[in-house]
Amino acid sequence: MKKQLIAAGVAGMLALSLAGCAGSSGGGATTNPSDTSTSAPANNGAACDNTITKTNLPQVTVWAWYPAFGPVVDLFNQTHDDVQICWTNAGQGGGEYDKFTTAIQAGTGAPDVIMLEFETLSSYTIQNALVDLTKYGINDIKSNFTAGAWKDASVGSGVYAVPVDGGPMGLLVRKDIFDKYNVPIPTTWDEFATAAKALKDAGYPGYITDWPSNGESQLLALYEQANAGASGFTYDAANPQQLGINFNTAGTKKVQEYWYNLVKQGVVANDDAGTTDYTTAMVNGTYASYISAAWGPGYLSGASGGSSDAVWQAVPLPQWDKANPVMVNWGGSSFAVTTQSKQPELAAKVAMGIYGDMDSWKIGVEQAALFPTYLPMLTSDYFKNLPYPFFNGQMINADVFLAAGQGYTGVVYSPFTPYVRSQLDQANAAMMQGQSDADTTIDNFQATLVQYAQDQGFTVTQG
């Protein structure tokens, strides 16, 4: 008798604690019955970062970390009477990706629509986490986007995301420093190397730029530039077992050798990127230029501790061959629909609609400093003639980034970008500690990637 009582007590406690778990993860559905009667969002326990006034409409959950995204969401919700966005900022980049990866493994917890950088798309299509949007009519709006962005959002013949912003690359220079030491601003990489030495010789205490060992995304783009725009990978979601890896090319080695020598000569810095120290050095005159992308101005103007007399100017990215310029891209992101969404059609509509008009893009350009892949905005006179106060009113789009953005043709990303990035970091750090020279670093990098790909079950083709 007593035994049964105890057993019941234990069972009761167990049930209680389990109920506690269930309550916290799916509480939204039970506390708000009106939600369940309409179309329930996939992530129905989530609290929105925005306020939804039209509560009777179906909701689509969105994860995104764009700056000034709140007003864009509000605008979308005001102008739509068929669907409302429930937005969550689930962390910037890695923070959000970790949550998404965990949700994929768990089989639940992902939002309907998720902001993803282009370089990560195929890492998720391979986990069957993203919906091919060609089923939901994305090809109808193909003409709204640049060719490069369209290719970046595609994995083979499938289109897995709606392009939002891009990162065509340029060089942001401290004109005052170049002027002070009477060094011309470089337009080719040969001139850049000459200018690096000239600045040092003229007594400039800083460095022409920084080459961070952990600047892998920037470096991958610089490799692409020397490889006529090829990324080193060939991959198609329709044939997910096949992967081509071709990093150890003459072009890649040329780039690696170039930076290795400049750092060894002491004319280019080798400080880690992404740290607080790095941001400070960027704006306080330690570096005379920043190899950057169209979003770079937003990043720089947000940094504090800059010199007040700094004169910034945007110029085109130096080229290896001026007669055949290659435009490359660093960063950029998109909206994808997850396979966990129970309402993929509605989600696709939201993904295509968020930055789907000029009004949203005005917020994106003015408040978030995004570079549009949306052609109506990109080709508008408004965008072309937009002066940037940070550059003393220079129209940087007309001068640099429009040409860079439209000349970019898109690349193929590997299906394991996080691994590629962390390996390149470590390879570069080892090289700078003298463990290998530039040439073997690239050969080792290639070998590591091939080994990993084979371990993961890919059939790898090289060369």
């Binding site: 007590g9 234990v10 060992s213 990127a273 607080t276 050095a281 970091d425 470590q426 079950g457």
Partner: protein, 307 residues
């Protein structure tokens, strides 16, 4: 007990009594047991189950038994991380326990108000959450914002970059030591307070100096506490994660994502999405921690009073 229970009848009633007492015992430990099973044993079992399956990025999951463990123990990245934490154990554990013991001894001999204040100050870093502590140190180490650059400049010297790959080891040892010495100090200090003061009196009468008393009387008596602290420190260091993860934001190329086995496991799971292999890494580390602490307790069983 056997001396009292001679007859058959009393033995039966005693057994019943014990049975009844056992039931109440179970009831009392039930709250703990439920939490223990639901949040520790069950996830452990699930992780072990995951580790028996192999799943790459392409192709489905295959049951491969212990094959993942063969892979882990031949994985150079895992082994490198393991060597790294072993090195941390060799350097960091003696420093922490040694410092904590010396401070506790000194504070035990002093009886002034200052001693009480010092005790609080030494303990204070432990009260700072590890996250905040590491974040704070990453700013102190910073070449641009930290005080070290300025300090060296006062003497006309260039400051070393503490966040450089060659110096990061010492930087992390310092952060962890700063954080944990106070905690171990308190444990050792309370062990010292439990020592019968008449022993000191006897030592004093025998003409022992303060140092002699400390080494020959106090130290042998607090050995069990020292061993406990060492085991805590050993386990904590083998599972090194928080401090390098936070400091990584300031020194990304000195601290790669695979710096320690725990960081490697987290990276493989959450960044690369390979949960089966990550479970294997985590489980392998668990086995090593278990063997390490068991070995240590076994070797010190005489001193700790376990035997």
């Amino acid at each position: 007990m056997s001396a009292i229970t001679t007859g058959a009848a009393p033995r039966a009633s005693l057994a019943k009594l014990r049975q009844r007492r056992d039931r109440w015992g179970w009831l009392f430990i039930a709250p703990f047991l439920v939490v223990f099973i639901v949040f520790l044993v069950a996830p452990l079992g699930y992780a072990f189950w995951l580790s028996l399956w192999q799943k790459g990025l392409v192709g489905g999951a295959r049951f491969t038994g212990l094959y993942n463990y063969v892979r882990v123990f031949t994985d150079p990245v895992f082994l490198q991380g393991l060597r790294r934490v072993a090195y941390y154990v060799l350097v960091m554990v003696p420093i922490q326990i040694g410092l904590a013991t010396i401070i506790a001894m000194i504070l035990d001999t002093l009886t002034t108000k200052l001693a009480r204040l010092s005790r609080l100050l030494v303990f204070l870093p432990y009260a700072v959450p590890a996250m905040i502590g590491a974040l704070m140190w990453s700013f102190l180490y910073s070449p641009n914002f930290g005080p070290i650059t300025g300090l060296f400049k006062q003497f006309g010297l260039t400051a070393p970059n503490i966040l450089a790959p060659d110096n990061i080891f010492g930087a992390l040892v310092n952060v962890v030591t700063w954080q944990w010495v106070g905690y171990y100090m308190i444990i050792i200090f309370s062990a010292l307070k439990a020592v019968d003061p008449s022993l000191y009196e006897a030592a004093l009468l025998d003409g022992a100096s303060t140092t002699q008393t400390a080494i020959h009387v106090k130290l042998p008596l607090i050995v069990p506490s020292l061993i406990m602290c060492t085991v805590f420190s050993l386990i904590g260091t083998l599972q090194f994660y928080t401090e390098p993860t936070i400091l990584r934001a300031a020194a990304p190329s000195a601290i790669p994502v695979t710096y320690t086995p725990n960081m490697y496991a987290a990276n493989v799971a959450f960044s690369r999405g390979l949960f089966n292999y990550a479970s294997t890494i985590a489980f392998s580390l668990g086995i090593i921690v278990f063997i390490g602490s068991y070995l240590f307790l076994f070797l010190t069983r005489k001193q700790s009073g376990l035997k």
